[in-house]
């Protein structure tokens, strides 16, 4: 099975998924420890892994707070796909630990 989320073809959302399907996100970093301290989507807020949500109808923001153990490292927020692979939802250089919160928009289709 492929990933639950796929790129949105329209600008009103970043990703889309089938309404009611579950997806799990995590953070990865090739050069050091990284962790999600909290994530929220469509009225559900989680502060402990696994960060698993259900795709909701409409467009909702998936907000995550990601912490890395080192600065100037590439951090990726990914969906852990049922197939075993990952889909990168957002990536950024962690140059400033005060900017660890970010979000993507997910549309239920």
């Amino acid at each position: 099975m492929a990933c639950v989320l796929s790129d949105s073809p329209t600008l009103d959302a970043d990703y889309q998924g089938a309404i009611g399907s579950k997806f799990t996100v995590t953070a990865v970093c090739a050069t050091g420890p990284v962790a999600i301290s909290g994530a929220a989507y469509a009225g559900t807020t989680l502060v402990k892994a696994p960060f698993t949500f259900t795709v909701a109808a409409g467009v909702s923001s998936l907000a995550t707070i990601v912490e890395g153990a080192a600065l100037n490292t590439l951090i990726q927020i990914v969906e852990m796909c049922p197939s075993g692979g990952v889909k990168v939802l957002r990536q950024f250089d962690m140059t400033d630990p005060n900017h660890s919160v970010s979000a993507v928009r997910i549309k239920g289709v």
């Binding site: 790129d7 949105s8 600008l11 009103d12 970043d14 050091g32 420890p33 990284v34 962790a35 301290s37 909290g38 994530a39 929220a40 807020t45 502060v47 402990k48 892994a49 467009v59 923001s61 907000a63 707070i65 912490e67 890395g68 153990a69 080192a70 600065l71 957002r90 950024f92 250089d93 140059t95 400033d96 630990p97 005060n98 900017h99 660890s100 919160v101 970010s102 979000a103 993507v104 928009r105």
Partner: protein, 504 residues
């Protein structure tokens, strides 16, 4: 309003309110960022949308910063930003200075975050206890704000310069007594002198404190498991508050047709052939400016940005405290205190503080030693060296987390006064109850040299999910500084984390 007054307000808001989210380095990305490689035109609309959307890391901070810069237009209340920063700080104060009238702890501790006392989150903040107002300057954040070059030295930074380390560990505060405007005189000498003996502090200027903290050796090999564990200790309320504030703000942008139109326009702009180098830089800034225009038209932008700033600040402090326990098990703090007690000569105290925390964080030990000298002897012949002090405190917080969490503390304080106490007598005063004039200058209190022992036991109850803490303490002292009589006090209080209240 005059321009210079406005400028002062804006400058104040910048210095006071935004330090926790300054220097938005991540947004918009630099023109040489891999995200624009090989050129923006080669990237998909989806990719550029992700990069430029207000959900990108640092985007909301950058918009907030630009809104403050535009504060010549009255759409953003500078006062609200000031209140936001102050509220964030007040929510995480940890009680008064040790041995002050509002003290809930015997042992003075460093402000460094390893001990959980790194609680002055803004560049400059104020807090009040009774009639005393304390202004605190968090030097690292202040320097970060005014920095025009060089890299900030964060808690997790490697390779900080010595200057960066000094700045990171520095903190200063000044305490002002706002209840009185002048020193008591004339027939009020009796109560005033008694107040001085019992420790009431002088009007206006009460004390100045400077702290410089040094972390112990940094633990470089941090495992994923340890890191995950440390992050999991960040207070749940702080995480939820930040996520809530972030999503609330984002929803207002994303539900705005104007914003979505400008984001689409921005993407089209970045895909133009000349969007490279300086041309790209100009277009990126134009995109951000257009989003700021949208923000200025949003009815609740002040309130929502204020909540976001507060939540961000409170979270960052909690996060740094959690990571400090992982990266640094110990720290050392040097402290200088200048104290201006009523009817006593000014005193200088030089203090060293050492803190150690166990791997689990359940056991925390703090020790300090200090020496106090009289800054002036006011003509007296007593020794300038007034006293020496030592203190030890052990805090234990069991790992289990029932609905009511208890933290236990035991403290012991020892002071040896090498010189008799001094009180200052104004020349206009009379002996209590008489019209006999007293000579001006310092008078020596007889027989106050010798040891002082103080012990304290404390239980701090935290009620889960309420942000309420209730410290209960019993303190026994063999004597006080200037009066040779033992006493036993019971203290209790309630503290509430207001930052969580404001950020919900």
């Amino acid at each position: 309003m005059k321009t210079n007054t406005r400028f002062a307000l804006i400058l104040t808001s910048l210095l006071v309110a935004l330090p926790a989210m300054l220097i938005a380095q991540d947004y918009p990305p630099r023109v040489d960022s891999p995200q624009f490689t090989p050129t923006p035109a080669a990237r998909s609309d989806h990719d550029l949308g992700l990069i430029m959307d207000v959900g990108a890391p640092g985007a909301l901070q950058e918009i907030a910063k630009k809104l403050v810069e535009r504060a010549f237009t009255p759409s953003l209340s500078t006062r609200q930003f000031v209140q936001a920063a102050e509220s964030a700080n007040q929510g995480i104060q940890n009680g008064g200075t040790a041995l002050s009238s509002s003290a809930t702890s015997l042992v003075a501790k460093g402000m460094s975050s390893i001990l959980g006392i790194a609680e002055e989150a803004g560049a400059i903040s104020s807090s009040s206890s009774g009639s005393a107002t304390t202004l605190t300057a968090n030097i690292p954040q202040f320097v970060d704000f005014v920095r025009t070059s060089g890299k900030p030295c964060y808690l997790i930074s490697d390779g900080c310069s010595f200057g960066g380390l000094l700045i990171r560990g520095a903190s200063a505060s000044v305490s002002l007594n706002t209840s009185k405007s002048s020193t008591p005189s004339g027939t009020s000498l009796g109560p005033a002198a008694l107040a001085g003996i019992t420790g009431v502090q002088n009007p206006i200027f009460s004390s100045f404190t400077f702290q410089e903290s040094f972390h112990g050796r940094r633990k470089h090999k941090v495992t994923q498991s340890d890191f995950q564990q440390a992050i999991s200790t960040i207070e749940e309320g702080k995480i939820k508050a930040l996520l809530d504030a972030d999503i609330t703000l984002l929803n207002d942008f994303h539900n705005s047709a104007d914003y979505n139109s400008r984001l689409a326009s921005c993407i089209r702009s970045l895909k133009q052939p000349d969007a490279i180098g300086e041309g790209l830089n100009l277009r990126l800034n134009a995109c951000v400016d257009s989003f700021v225009d949208v923000a200025q038209g949003m009815s609740k932008i002040n309130e929502q940005l204020t909540n976001f700033i507060q939540a961000n600040t409170a979270y960052d402090v909690a996060r740094d405290a959690a990571l400090a326990t992982l990266f640094y098990k110990s720290n050392f703090t040097f402290e200088y205190d200048l104290t201006n007690n009523l009817n006593q000569p000014m005193q200088s105290t030089f203090k060293g503080v050492y803190g150690y925390r166990s791997n689990s964080g359940a056991l925390q030990t703090t020790a300090n030693g200090s020496a106090t000298i009289y800054n002036s002897l006011e003509g007296s012949s007593v020794s300038r060296a007034r006293s020496a002090q030592g203190a030890l405190q052990v805090d234990f917080k069991p790992g289990t987390k029932p609905s009511i969490q208890a933290a236990y503390s035991l403290g012991y304080y020892f002071q040896y006064m090498t010189a008799d106490g001094l009180i200052k007598l104004p020349s206009t005063d009379f002996a209590p109850g008489t019209t006999i004039p007293l000579p001006s200058g310092a008078s020596q209190l007889l027989n106050t040299t010798g040891p002082i022992h103080i012990g304290q036991g404390k239980i701090t109850l935290s009620i889960k999910g309420t942000n309420i803490k209730i410290p209960l303490a019993v303190t026994g002292a063999s004597r006080t500084d200037l009066i040779k009589a033992s006493r036993v006090n019971g203290n209790f209080g309630i503290s509430y984390d207001f930052s969580s209240l404001f950020s919900k």
